[in-house]
């Protein structure tokens, strides 16, 4: 587990640092995805989670879900092309779960990548810490509390 400025990043996940999205390969070739503690911190208190429809084909950089707080909307954008296979309906019902457990019960969508090279451009393992430190420095991101749920 990498911890950068109070934000936790599990070593076994793949991160799209600039889009604040994590990916976890599943046994069946699907990829589970959600937003990072940094994304949660930027969104603050998430009130609404709206995933893309199951079956939707998407390309790199396209929206796969949106999250809303009181006066703010953010798009969760994919790093690669693929298809939405399933969505977290429990998170639709209780969007604030992502504020408490963004890597667990706060997962967002299950994706089937269009190609095997979906990890291209993502960071994992020992590369996570330096990548996030560089991004936080560049963006002036203060940090997270309790592993990454609250923006200072």
């Amino acid at each position: 587990m990498a911890r950068v400025r109070g934000c936790d990043f599990p070593d076994d996940l793949y991160f799209d640092v600039r889009r604040h999205v994590w990916y976890r390969p599943e046994d069946d070739g699907l990829i589970r995805a959600g937003i990072t503690p940094v994304g949660v911190a930027l969104a603050r208190q998430v009130l609404i989670f709206t995933p893309g429809r199951v079956g939707r084909i998407f390309g790199p950089g396209r929206s796969i879900a949106t999250i809303e707080s009181a006066k703010w909307v953010g798009s969760v954008r994919a790093a690669f092309a693929g298809r939405i296979e399933a969505v977290n309906e429990a998170l639709v019902a209780r969007a604030d779960t992502v504020n408490r457990d963004c890597y667990g019960k706060g997962w967002m969508v299950l994706l089937r990548p269009a190609a095997d090279d979906w990890v291209e451009g993502l960071v994992t393992g020992a590369a996570i810490g330096p990548a996030y430190e560089a991004w936080m420095e560049e963006e002036g991101f203060a940090g997270c509390e309790d592993g990454g749920q609250v923006l200072r």
């Binding site: 929206s63 006066k71 909307v73 798009s75």
Partner: protein, 125 residues
């Protein structure tokens, strides 16, 4: 499936701050969902595209977030804003007086053509 949303602000009155958040927020959400969004500001709402207006208005009294901030947030998601040519005369301003987030002028004929012939849905406020 329709991918374009045209939002027409006709009855959104800058003198009533409570009316000014929803149109821009809905536009931002639609753009965040990857829909193509155009917002046309005409009649009284046309003033919102003029420099120096939206930055003085607030949806909620005392809230530091101005209407220009709402417009910029939507614009940041990819929303295109358009002013009405007739408004220039109505408010005695020039195209150079429009805010940077405004892409320019959309004539009534273009708007009507897009609504009647184009592959778009329409929301009016």
């Amino acid at each position: 499936m329709t991918r374009r949303l045209l939002i027409v602000l006709v009855n959104t009155d800058p003198r009533n701050g409570e009316e000014l958040g929803a149109p821009f927020y809905h536009a931002a959400v639609a753009a965040a969902m990857d829909y193509e969004v155009d917002v046309v500001c005409t009649a009284a709402a046309g003033r919102l595209m003029v420099k120096g207006v939206a930055e003085t208005l607030h949806v909620k009294p005392g809230d530091p977030k101005t209407v220009l901030d709402w417009i910029r947030e939507a614009h940041g998601h990819g929303v295109r804003f358009w002013a009405c040519p007739a408004n220039l005369d109505l408010f005695e301003v020039r195209e150079e007086d429009l805010i940077a987030e405004c892409s320019g002028l959309m004539g009534a004929a273009t708007m009507i053509r897009d609504i009647m012939d184009g592959d778009c849905r329409v929301l009016t406020y």
